[in-house]
């Protein structure tokens, strides 16, 4: 994919939240309140619908309040990378579809979508959630590549965490297709009942947003519009495996330290709701 210099800078986000609303949100947050009655460190209701697309090896529809994403897992065989001859591969991409919000336009992926894909990828990859060694078919020759593709359906904020939740859920329910070694063909219509080699380190991503002096999680579109900085942290049981601070806002060292604590704590709540939703 070739991208022209300057592409990024067109990303200047369109904000749909008026100043009056923004002021009111800040007033509320200062008193520890939110429009929808949630606590500052509380996620919206999570609903996961399984197997929404039958050609995928695993797929889910995730709803976080009014935010909605579809995540599908596809697999393919390929040559391993030279530096990891016995490991399978992971590819995560994200698309912010024009159908999911007025502010998204068609065309090559803009920065927001690229960041979404890359941060989601990093969380999954670094945590050890997927046992890549078990995705090797023939060392140095053939390995499985797992594709995780995220599509936005409705953007009401916090696409970032919804994408990771979706990826985790889709990977959990995915089944490996049959592989015909003789003809080097994947028989996609014949799914085995073998699940992907996953570990119990589930890298739930929690984005903490700084608005004024408040730190909140799972922002709605209105809240995310006025967020000064987003710190997305992927963690499992207090172990942090990925982090990305976004936007041009400086945070005090102590503020950052508090962010780590909030993210680690909230990620356990979110993991609980994922497990409940998948039942």
């Amino acid at each position: 994919m070739r991208l022209r210099w300057g592409e990024v800078n067109k990303m200047d986000k369109q904000r749909t939240t008026s100043c009056i609303t923004a002021e009111r949100i800040k007033q509320y947050l200062a008193e520890g309140k939110r429009f929808d009655d949630r606590k500052l460190d509380q996620f919206r209701n999570l609903i996961i619908e399984k197997n929404v697309s039958n050609k995928a090896e695993g797929s889910v529809r995730v709803r976080l309040g009014k935010t909605e994403v579809l995540v599908g897992v596809k697999m393919a065989t390929s040559e391993p990378y030279a530096d990891s001859p016995t490991k399978g591969n992971l590819m995560v991409t994200a698309e912010l579809l024009p159908l999911s919000a007025a502010r998204f336009e068609s065309g090559p992926p803009k920065f927001e979508a690229i960041e979404l894909g890359r941060v989601t990828d990093r969380g999954l990859r670094e945590s050890g959630f997927i046992d890549f060694d078990k995705l090797c078919i023939e060392p140095g020759k053939k390995v499985w590549t797992v594709f995780v593709d995220v599509y936005s359906i409705n953007d009401d904020g916090n696409m970032m965490d919804a994408a990771t939740i979706g990826a985790i859920a889709a990977l959990k329910i995915a089944k490996i297709p049959k592989y015909d070694a003789e003809n080097d063909k994947v028989l996609f219509d014949e799914l085995t009942d073998v699940s992907l080699p996953l570990t119990d380190i589930v890298p739930v991503a929690v984005s903490v947003h700084k608005i004024g002096n408040s730190l909140i999680v799972d922002p709605t579109r209105e809240e995310e519009d006025i967020s000064e900085s987003r710190i997305t942290i992927g963690s499992s049981k207090g172990m942090i495996s990925s982090l990305q601070k976004s936007n041009s806002t400086a945070l005090e060292m102590d503020e950052m330290k508090k962010v780590f604590e909030i993210a680690a704590k909230v990620s356990e709540d979110v993991l609980d709701s994922i497990e409940k939703a998948l039942k």
Binding site: L3, G6, M239, S242, K245, A250, M253, K257, F260
Partner: protein, 238 residues
């Protein structure tokens, strides 16, 4: 942190950075420019502007804007990388902007843009940090009004030990808990403007790493400051 018998491949102490050097004025055509070297990693940065923002529809009448471009030269790594932009370089370009912008006073330049071009000539890990250090220097060298300097360093965790400034060899470390890479950028007064993380670390150690980053960034700051002073011929004293 326990100073156990952890040996780094190149024999550095845990909190020891690679030898760094900085120089400004390496691109005479640019408004400001700098080279920042950290061990075998070499970054150069050049600043053009403030100038009128083009295309015009991107102009912002309220403030000037910062545009950053990070690029790795195709020969800067062992396996040649295809020239041009890719997803990684686009992300780092944006990260660089986020790291620097809080220190700049661009409100004085409505409708204008400051372009920062960062190029990695030679890579041995820590290229985004070296790039940010070079870019911050180049901005100061260009005389863009700044509230503070920005310095950047990567903190690493090898197995269970926190160390400063990972090399490529250390990034590929595979024992125990493996490597964790935590690039951090800070203003000199101790605000975090950029932070990322790849790996595995607990909350407490991550908090510690911020304090380590501050100490290391202070060292980088001194090098940056010296480079700027060296570029000015002080009259009278000689």
């Amino acid at each position: 942190m326990t100073e156990k018998e952890f040996k780094r491949p190149d024999g550095r102490k845990l909190t020891e950075m690679r030898p760094v050097s900085a120089k400004v004025g390496v691109v005479p055509n640019a408004q400001g420019s700098a080279m920042f070297t950290s061990g075998k990693t070499i970054a150069i940065a050049a600043v053009y502007g403030p100038k009128k923002m083009h295309p015009q529809h991107q102009q912002n009448p309220a403030t000037g804007q910062l545009r950053c471009e990070y690029n790795m030269m195709s020969f800067s790594v062992s396996d040649r990388i295809r020239p041009g932009r890719n997803r990684r370089s686009m992300e780092i370009s944006e990260i660089t902007k986020w790291a620097l912008e809080p220190a700049l006073m661009l409100e004085q330049y409505p409708n204008q843009v400051v372009d920062v071009h960062v190029n990695i000539i030679q890579a041995d890990a820590g290229t985004r940090c070296a790039g940010i250090n070079a870019a911050a220097l180049a901005l100061a060298h260009a005389g863009i009004p700044m509230k503070d300097m920005v310095s950047s360093i990567s903190i690493g965790k090898l197995d269970k030990t926190l160390v400063v400034d990972l090399t490529k060899e250390e990034e590929d470390f595979e024992e125990g808990e493996g490597p964790t890479d935590i690039p951090v950028s800070m203003t000199h007064d101790g605000k975090v403007t950029h932070m990322q993380l790849d790996g595995k670390i607990n909350v407490k150690q991550l908090q510690e790493s911020i304090d380590m980053a501050k100490v290391a960034c202070d060292e980088v700051y001194e090098v940056q400051k010296k480079a700027l002073k060296d570029a000015i011929k002080m009259g009278g004293s000689e």
